[in-house]
């Protein structure tokens, strides 16, 4: 494990800027939250933003619910806030296959076998 407290390793990570969002919660407005929404949308936790209304930097109820679902999937405390452990998990390199497909969490065994959706 990379020791806690040391600076970020000197290699690029497209999601490392999320670490600046640690501590954000419902009601906040912070540069970078729109990009985090894009991340959560990519992995199925939020619907895609329509081209006429792109994601904003507001920490709204939809983002809070999406983060809570993410936290449940990864065994974290489902606070809905961007606590450090959640951000650490989010910046980890990962598979590009979505965790939630058409609103159904593929990581929730109770719901993953009943719905139909896209194949990726």
């Amino acid at each position: 494990h990379f020791p806690a407290g040391l600076p970020e390793p000197p290699f690029p990570n497209p999601w490392s800027a999320f670490q600046n969002l640690s501590g954000c919660h419902m009601g906040d407005e912070r540069d970078g939250l729109a990009r985090l929404k894009g991340y959560l949308s990519h992995f199925g936790y939020l619907p895609s933003a329509p081209s006429s209304s792109p994601f904003t930097d507001a920490f709204d109820a939809d983002l809070e619910a999406a983060i809570a679902t993410y936290q449940r999937n990864f065994g974290l405390e489902a606070t809905g806030a961007l606590d450090p452990s959640t951000v650490t998990q989010m910046v980890a390199p990962r598979c590009g296959v979505a965790d939630v497909i058409n609103g159904t969490s593929t990581m929730d065994r109770n719901s993953s076998s009943s719905a139909h959706g896209r194949h990726l």
Binding site: H1, F2, F11, W15, G75, P93, R94, C95, D99, H119
Partner: protein, 198 residues
């Protein structure tokens, strides 16, 4: 373990599947090494199930195609450069398996020696799970857990993975079961530089 919505799987009359390395010019890993890595990765799944895999002859149609791509590559799921998204694969019976050519892919023991390095075989074993119909698992330590630390080698199926794949395709009667792991020193986890944990 979970399945994709709808539970897609390879049909019963297709238990002998072929795979082809179709786009390898974007990686510096030589062809023989790639063949060996993917053969080992597929074998981990065939050991547990009734499925069998073989690399297709050059030019032959294959059930599964494997390639390295950079950025947008035509499937609507463009790659993002080093780290971030490492690879993706499609559910049965699509057969496409794409790896991000921008990653610092490593093979075998070299995985622990380089910052930002990603073990190719570990990612291959995970993506093959998707090709066979498994979704992501919330069981940390399972092959189908969505994230992997850099410098980490995780290639052996865990109980959760085995139960998931055997529920789809049945059990290989010769399967010896999941090897026990030591809680303190695991050969599966040789992490030296996890970007995610910084």
């Amino acid at each position: 373990y979970t399945y994709f919505p709808g539970g897609p799987m390879w049909p019963p009359f297709r238990r002998d599947l072929t795979y082809a390395l179709t786009a390898t010019s974007a990686t510096s890993i030589d062809r023989a090494t790639l063949s060996a890595v993917f053969a080992r990765a597929f074998a981990r799944w065939s050991d547990a199930t009734t499925l069998r895999f073989a690399e297709a002859a050059p030019g032959a149609d294959a059930d599964i195609t494997i390639g390295f791509y950079a950025g947008d590559h035509g499937d609507g799921e463009g790659f993002d450069g080093p780290l971030g998204t490492l690879a993706h694969a499609f559910s049965p019976t699509d057969g496409r398996f794409h790896l991000d050519a921008a990653e610092a892919w490593t093979v075998g023991d070299s995985a622990s020696s380089s910052s930002g390095a990603v073990d190719l075989e570990s990612v291959a074993v995970h993506e093959i799970g998707h090709l066979l119909g498994l979704g992501h698992s919330s069981v940390q330590g399972s092959i189908m857990y969505p994230t992997i630390r850099t410098g980490t080698r995780k290639v052996e199926l865990e109980t959760d993975d085995v139960q998931g794949i055997q529920s789809l395709y049945g059990t290989n009667p010769d399967f010896k079961g999941v090897a026990p792991t030591s809680p303190s020193t695991s050969s599966r986890e040789t992490d030296s530089s996890a970007a995610a944990d910084s």
